[in-house]
């Protein structure tokens, strides 16, 4: 077990940080809030530094790095308040790598180059996050398939070149490729829409699990980056902001709460980096993925709420970074199953987990 970052990883982080710094949204004027559309320019820059193909094997057209590298990229994106399809794109890429036919795997090269924006379409409206499809159905039609039903919300659906749709095919859930999808906002409606089966339906469930596990870790990296920005920002505010003629840092009740934020941050950091290592080795390690999701979900809520509270009024304005960081952390928590969802998933497996183990011989 070793958490040391290699020089190569450091160089990747630095490259991403540099492009992120240029792309970080300004906080003056009519600052955009809420979910933002896909930014093709940033995406292309990410492709250029090699960030989009990291976790796929070279054989499949990826860069043969690991999830660790992808997480380091995600941390920089989160720190720099960049909204992007990064985790979604990796979810899609892993799905293709795990499930696609050899021919279909050619899509990975297009994902890595930024040429194609491939997005998973998993959520169904007014339904808890689920690995299974429930109301979107797939029907075999000659050599191909057609899909019916609604997927929503699907972030970045409007800009996707391809969506990978989970759909109910008989008793099982399969993954289907729809090219040039027609979206209304985050909504995708299928009505006998032609689609191509990714791999086989028999292998889909395992591939979906793996892809979601991996995406959970990437997104946790984005949250970690946001937390890693919010905590020192809060400390600096306490040191500089004056009230009652003294800096806020004079008030012990505030500094002690900042200390608790720091503790949450460091526990989240350890978990995310470990998750990256563990899932690099075994994409089916759902227990680790869920534990990371829980730790990051709880740390993130704690840090996000306290960062705003300790900032006071400006914390809820669009003119200050901390509110945007909290918004990003909050959105990440509600993606790929929230804390409750993952606690429930872990609860179901308690009899199997025995003693918590992190050291792997």
């Amino acid at each position: 077990m070793d958490f040391t970052i290699t020089d190569e990883q450091k160089a990747l982080s630095d490259a991403v940080r540099e492009l992120v710094t240029r792309a970080t949204p300004e906080l003056t004027g009519d600052v955009p809030v809420g979910p933002q559309p896909h930014d093709a320019k940033v995406w292309q820059q990410l492709a250029e530094v090699g960030a989009l193909g990291l976790p796929y094997s070279e054989e499949h057209g990826g860069f043969g790095a690991s999830l660790v590298e992808a997480v380091l990229v995600a941390v920089e994106l989160g720190r720099g308040r960049i909204q992007s399809a990064y985790a979604d794109s990796i979810l899609a890429g892993v799905l293709v790598e795990e499930l696609g036919t050899d021919e279909q795997k050619s899509l990975i090269e297009a994902i890595a180059s930024g040429e194609s924006l491939v997005i998973p379409a998993i959520n169904e409206p007014m339904r808890e996050f689920s690995h299974d499809a429930h109301t979107v159905t797939a029907t075999q039609a000659g050599d191909g398939w057609t899909l019916s039903g609604v997927k929503e919300p699907v972030r970045y659906a409007a800009d996707a070149t391809h969506v990978l749709v989970t759909a109910k095919a008989g008793d099982t859930t399969g993954v289907f490729v729809v090219e040039a999808p027609q979206a209304t906002g985050d909504r995708l409606e299928f009505a006998a829409t032609p689609a191509t089966l990714l791999g086989t339906t028999a292998d889909a469930a395992a591939a979906i699990d793996k892809a979601i596990n991996v995406a959970i870790i990437v997104l946790a990296g984005e949250s970690l980056g946001a937390m890693d920005a919010a905590v020192p920002m809060t400390a600096e505010y306490l040191n500089t902001r004056q009230q009652f003629g003294v800096p806020l840092a004079t008030f012990q009740t505030l500094t002690h709460r900042a200390a608790d934020m720091y503790v949450s941050l460091e526990l989240a950091r350890s978990s995310v980096l470990y998750g990256a290592m563990a899932l690099s080795e075994d994409r089916s390690d759902a227990t680790t993925a869920s534990r990371v999701k829980v730790v990051v979900g709880q740390s993130g809520r704690h840090i996000g709420q306290e960062a705003i509270q300790l900032h006071g009024g400006i914390g809820v304005t669009a003119e200050y970074a901390v509110g945007h960081l909290t918004a990003a952390i909050t959105a990440a928590e509600h993606t790929y199953g929230d804390t409750r969802h993952h606690l429930t998933r872990l609860s179901a497996g308690l009899r199997d987990t025995g003693v918590v183990e992190v050291l792997h011989a």
Partner: protein, 396 residues
């Protein structure tokens, strides 16, 4: 001790419930209850609602009877507020009903009372608050905006911030420093009333994380205010401000609003499908709802038990308990509703043609917006300091 309402109070409750559920225009209630926060209610609906209440004598019950108030008991005032919130009726604009109205009634000259109180109760004048400054938030008395006497006028220079709904306001009540040499920072402050159309007043919107324009910065560049718009005496403004803040905090726990939102949370949870049923059957969601129902019960009972002890408009430590815990529970309910929306909380603002329920798109912005509830109106930290000192006698 007595569990049941007296026949008189029961009839009062019935009358309130009937009025609020049948006499307030439907469009007001719908707009006010969509998304769990009323702050983006269109100003014309705010005016319509308050005029409707005022016509029935229900806009400013806390004022002196001669100026439109009601000679109600504390319990009746609670019933009024709670039934109003439960029915989804927006509370009367706080700046008018809870802040400047009572101050003018208590400290204003007869001339000011006659000139301002009736239009204030009827929201013919929309007031905003000029208290906070960029470097005077929790430390309100550190304010720097000055007013210099010049013949029959004062001339104001400086800046205010966090001016809620200032963009709709006709008038502002403002705290200004009139004696920069006073021995204590609280002693040289006065309260003035000013027309927002006065030359030299500039309003700059501050956008919040929910995308709404709810608060503003207001700049004053040689703004001339007639001296007869001074409230009470010069340099006594801090007294009036404390009175105002005490009123603001009194009965501040939005019990009815919390209860309404919590009962909706159950409806919402029943709309979200899971593998085995709906989120209302999910044990962890259900436990959070049950816990919050118990918490709001405890909160309302505490309102009823201690509200009677508030006196003379002085900041009442019991009010601090209610502000502190009320804002926390309100945030908890709003957070719960966002979690119930789950993936649907990721999409906002709403796009036409969605398959998701209407309420979901408001959940994340409302969550972000309502982090303010433990900050404004005296932050939770300020309330804890008051409680530690006043209720526990801690000498910190």
């Amino acid at each position: 001790m007595q569990l049941r309402l007296s026949a008189e109070d029961a009839a009062f409750q019935q009358r309130m419930r009937e009025f609020f559920t049948t006499q307030v225009p439907k469009e007001v209630i719908e707009a006010n209850t969509s998304g769990g926060k009323g702050s983006d209610l269109a100003p014309e609906l705010v005016r319509l609602s308050m005029k409707t209440l005022n016509a029935a004598g229900l806009a400013v019950p806390n004022w002196p009877v001669e100026w439109g108030g009601q000679d109600w008991t504390t319990l009746q005032k609670h019933i009024w507020a709670s039934e109003m919130e439960l029915a989804g009726v927006p509370s009367p604009l706080a700046f008018n009903a809870k802040m400047i109205g009572p101050v003018i009634a208590a400290f204003g000259s007869q001339e000011l009372k006659e000139r301002f109180l009736a239009p204030t109760a009827n929201l013919d004048i929309w007031w905003c608050q000029g208290f906070s400054e960029p470097n005077a938030g929790s430390d309100l008395a550190g304010l720097k905006t000055t007013a210099v006497r010049d013949g029959d006028n004062y001339v104001i220079n400086g800046q205010k911030t966090w001016t809620t709904l200032g963009q709709f306001a006709d008038w502002m009540f403002i705290l200004v420093r009139t004696d920069p040499n006073a021995p204590k920072k609280q002693m040289g402050i006065s309260m003035l009333l000013l027309d927002m159309k006065t030359p030299g007043v500039t309003v700059r919107p501050i956008k919040l994380m929910d995308g709404q324009h709810e608060v503003n910065e207001v700049f004053f560049d040689n703004v001339v205010v007639p001296a007869n718009q001074l409230v009470g005496e010069e340099n006594k403004g801090w007294t009036y401000a404390k009175f105002l803040l005490g009123n603001e905090r009194a009965g501040v726990a939005p019990v009815g609003a919390i209860k309404l939102h919590l009962s909706r949370a159950k409806d919402y949870a029943a709309q979200v499908q899971t593998e085995t049923g709906t989120l209302l059957d999910d044990p962890l969601i259900a436990a959070r709802i049950a816990e919050l129902e118990a918490a709001v019960m405890a909160l309302e009972l505490t309102v009823l038990r201690v509200a009677g002890t508030s006196k003379d408009g002085k900041p009442d430590p019991a009010s601090s308990i209610l502000k502190l815990r009320g804002s926390e529970i309100q945030q908890d309910v709003i957070e719960l509703v966002m979690d119930i929306a789950g993936p649907a909380s990721l999409t906002w603002p709403a796009v036409e043609g969605t398959s998701q329920a209407d309420w979901t798109a408001g959940t994340t912005p409302t969550y972000l917006n309502f982090r303010k509830a433990t900050i404004y109106g005296g932050s939770s930290e300020v309330q804890r300091s008051i409680i530690a000192s006043a209720n526990l006698g801690l000498k910190g």
